[in-house]
């Protein structure tokens, strides 16, 4: 039996929930976890935002949140998906970017062309294997909505790049 839930304790529990598709980063690193509200009747409302509109991981993330809270005895949980303001890679934590890189995914680079620019690609993307920036875009679309496919021109290794999205 738990006493009245405390916001920072709940935040700490949720901070440990990992992204189901990139299990080295948490939903807090990603910026998917937006807020936690504790209502007068004791209900805990968790506010999350999708990375991409069709991201299939969102359902799984909601399940993981419920399980993590249940393990701590918190069962009265409401999960609210909030679309606005729209998620951007600017919400990615620095720690999260480092974890991505170690995992073999190039983290988002800030100097991306404006979304309205029709042609031209992002530059300065570093190969997570050898560190070279001599890399080339193979496809804007990768294994998940949030990633593009690149290849290193030095070590020749193909790799995923977490697209700069804003």
């Amino acid at each position: 039996m738990m006493t009245a839930p405390n916001r920072s304790a709940i935040w700490q529990i949720l901070e440990r929930v990992c992204d189901p598709e990139i299990p080295v980063i948490t939903i807090a690193d990603l910026g998917v976890l937006r807020d936690v509200l504790i209502h007068e009747d004791g209900e805990v409302e968790v506010i999350i935002t999708p990375t991409y509109s069709g991201c299939p991981a969102m359902n799984m993330i909601a399940v993981e949140i419920r399980l993590a809270l249940k393990a701590e005895g918190i069962e009265k949980v409401k999960i609210t998906t909030q679309l606005s303001p729209a998620w951007t890679t600017d919400w990615f934590s620095e720690e999260g970017k480092q974890k991505l890189k170690q995992y073999g995914i190039a983290p988002p680079v800030d100097a991306s062309p404006h979304v309205r620019q029709l042609f031209g690609q992002e530059t300065g993307i570093q190969c997570p294997q050898c560190g070279s920036t001599h890399t080339q875009l193979l496809s804007q679309f990768g294994s998940t909505s949030c990633k593009a496919l690149y290849q290193c021109q030095d070590c020749k290794e193909p790799f995923d790049y977490f697209k700069c999205h804003r």
Binding site: P50, Y52, S53, G54, C55, P56, L83, S84, P85, A86, W87, T88, V115, R116, L118, F119, L138, S139, Q140, F141, G142, S143, S145, L149, K163, H165, R166
Partner: protein
């Protein structure tokens, strides 16, 4: 006063449902390429675009359900309506054809979609603005993909150019519906909720001309509003076949969950 408000609400419901249907049906068409793409990267690209569009469709269906207030879910709209109740653009239901047809269909749609959402994200309707703001960033990748392919195939080999010309001629008559306002849309444009379609028409045409010029392709000369009516439920024969396949499981086992 009250009736004017009701009229706007009814128009809003119809238009939101129409946007949901267009993005769903185009998503479904693209998903038909899954496993059949010309190369793996393009197979993945089309599946990714389909995924973004279905995400957008779900947001619109969710909003439609709230507006209707009858306790329906997105599944009720998707699985239990007949083709005459669907309000999608005719362009979206056209067959994939060859890769050139799919690219041209996407290019016409994206060239409208990106500019439509760009204005809609500042709509006074907060839900529409939130959905548009979210999808706008995603569609910026779609328009890059379809424009690059128009250029690559148009300015490619003799054969690829000829296939693009055939696809442009075939789909051009469907493209005008994107910017032809229905009575419901006119109500919302007048209320400042939807973008001005005349301005969209100009921006769309500029986009089409600039990319087709780079692709060394000609803009088709015929009227582009020959085939319209999808937004009010008048469809081509292709939609019923698509729905029959998409709805088959729910029609056989209503309410089935997995």
């Amino acid at each position: 006063m009250e009736t004017a408000k009701n009229k706007t609400n009814q128009a809003l419901f119809n238009v939101v449902l129409s946007l949901a249907d267009s993005t769903l049906i185009l998503s479904h068409r693209l998903s038909e390429w899954c496993g059949y793409g010309p190369v793996i990267e393009q197979d993945i690209a089309m599946s990714n675009i389909a995924l973004d569009l279905i995400g957008e469709a779900r947001n619109f269906y969710d909003y439609a359900a709230k507006l209707e207030g009858a306790g329906k879910t997105e599944d009720d709209y998707v699985y239990f309506r007949e083709s005459k109740d669907y309000k999608n653009l005719l362009l979206c239901e056209q067959l994939n054809g060859d890769f050139a047809h799919t690219v041209v269909r996407q290019f016409f749609f994206d060239s409208w979609h990106i500019h439509f959402l760009d204005v809609l994200r500042n709509s006074p309707d907060e839900t529409l603005a939130a959905i548009a703001g979210k999808s706008f960033m995603e569609v910026s990748y779609h328009i890059k993909w379809s424009s690059e392919w128009v250029i690559r195939l148009g300015d490619g080999t003799e054969k690829s150019k000829q296939k693009m010309e055939t696809a442009l001629e075939a789909l051009w008559p469907f493209s005008g519906e994107l910017m032809e306002a229905t009575e419901d849309e006119k109500i919302l444009i007048a209320a400042g909720i939807l973008p001005n379609f005349e301005q969209l028409k100009t921006i769309w045409m500029e986009q089409i001309m600039s990319v087709l010029t780079r692709a060394t392709l000609e803009v088709p000369t015929g009227k582009n509003t020959v085939q319209t009516g999808g937004k009010t439920g008048r469809h081509t024969e292709y939609l019923s076949y698509l729905l029959a396949e998409m709805q088959s499981v729910q029609r056989a086992y209503p309410g089935l969950k997995w």
